[in-house]
Symmetry: C2
Subunit: 201 residues, 2 copies
């Protein structure tokens, strides 16, 4: 069984917020196929944006989205990265898409300020969550029903997982690989990436 | 003074090999402007590819190059990421471009298997270098005049710096920020990225 990992991208998305999870899930697939060439690859990773117009990530990296909001394959794992999310928070069509897509997904995860978008879509109500250390106070102020912690790399709240700033999305994604495909594949993926996986949240 | 950081990209480039350095240099610029709003930004980061045709990175992330080999701004810091470099090694036009661009740059750096491209361009002759742990034996076999080490995150050989696998490009890029703009900015950049910078090579 192949799980579709859909990463939402937008203008001013943080490069590593999307690049970290993309690297982890695609490398995990590659590693799995090395170990077991005859199995289906565990993850198919793709980007989804508002339209098919190129997206300008923070710092100017230009990414061509694979799919648009109105037409994409079913998403099993929805990843919402952060960056400058102010404009995104005001887009009702997007917030409704996140709520709808998450409801059909088995897992939804945010990196950094992507947590604001999940909160706005009502996915974090009553949950313990985290975000970039610089934005903890704002997330608490905007969404007082959340318990926002600032001492963990990620918080696993079951079907919704939030991670701290930028690089923490790598550690969280490795944890999701461990949850979905087993610890051994996650360890091999981290080793392949030469990454010192911080396995404790 | 703003330094132009040019990152070469190609089909099957490893996502984090390019995304890590892109994130580090662009975040360093953002942090510097916060500290000193009236100064020039220290780094302008952009991608350069063979042509302006979109590049398909490993796993399928599609990147629109900012510039092409025959027409780009002067490059002060040349970054050559890795990935599947077999096809790239055979491209004489590219190898000549790397040699020429490096000669005019103040610093040239590789991530992961990008070291093979620097070696092919003659930039590593007689030097101590590193690459992804999986490719150390191949690099030694193909270029017997190099001293290839496998126990460091990066090797600073002065005007040429090579780094180990995938995520090591983040640590190396932070080290380059420290060299070029001072330790304090590199520490702030790592903190902003929530990254546990491995400061020892």
């Amino acid at each position: 069984m192949t799980r579709n990992v859909g990463i939402y991208i937008f203008d001013e998305v943080e490069v590593l917020d999307l690049g970290g999870p993309f690297e982890v899930f695609s490398t995990a697939s590659r590693m799995k196929l090395r170990l077991a060439p005859d199995t289906a690859k565990p993850f198919e990773v793709f980007t989804v944006a508002d339209t098919l117009r190129p997206v300008r990530a923070r710092g100017g990296l230009t990414i061509q989205p694979a799919f648009e909001l109105t037409d994409h394959p079913a998403i099993d794992v929805l990843i919402v990265p952060g960056g400058e999310v102010g404009a995104e928070l005001k887009r009702e069509v997007l917030i409704a898409w996140i709520a709808r897509t998450s409801a059909k997904a088995s897992l939804t995860a945010s990196v950094c300020t992507g947590a604001f978008l999940l909160a706005k879509a009502g996915l974090l109500a009553g949950k313990t969550v985290t975000t970039h250390w610089e934005d903890v106070a704002d997330l608490r102020a905007m969404f007082p029903d959340l318990t926002v912690v600032d001492d963990r790399r990620w918080v696993d709240a079951g079907d919704v997982v939030t991670s701290a700033g930028i690089s923490a999305g790598i550690d969280m994604s490795l944890q999701l690989v461990a949850r979905l495909e087993g610890e051994e594949l996650a360890v091999r993926t981290a080793r392949q990436m030469d990454y010192d996986w911080r396995r404790l949240p």
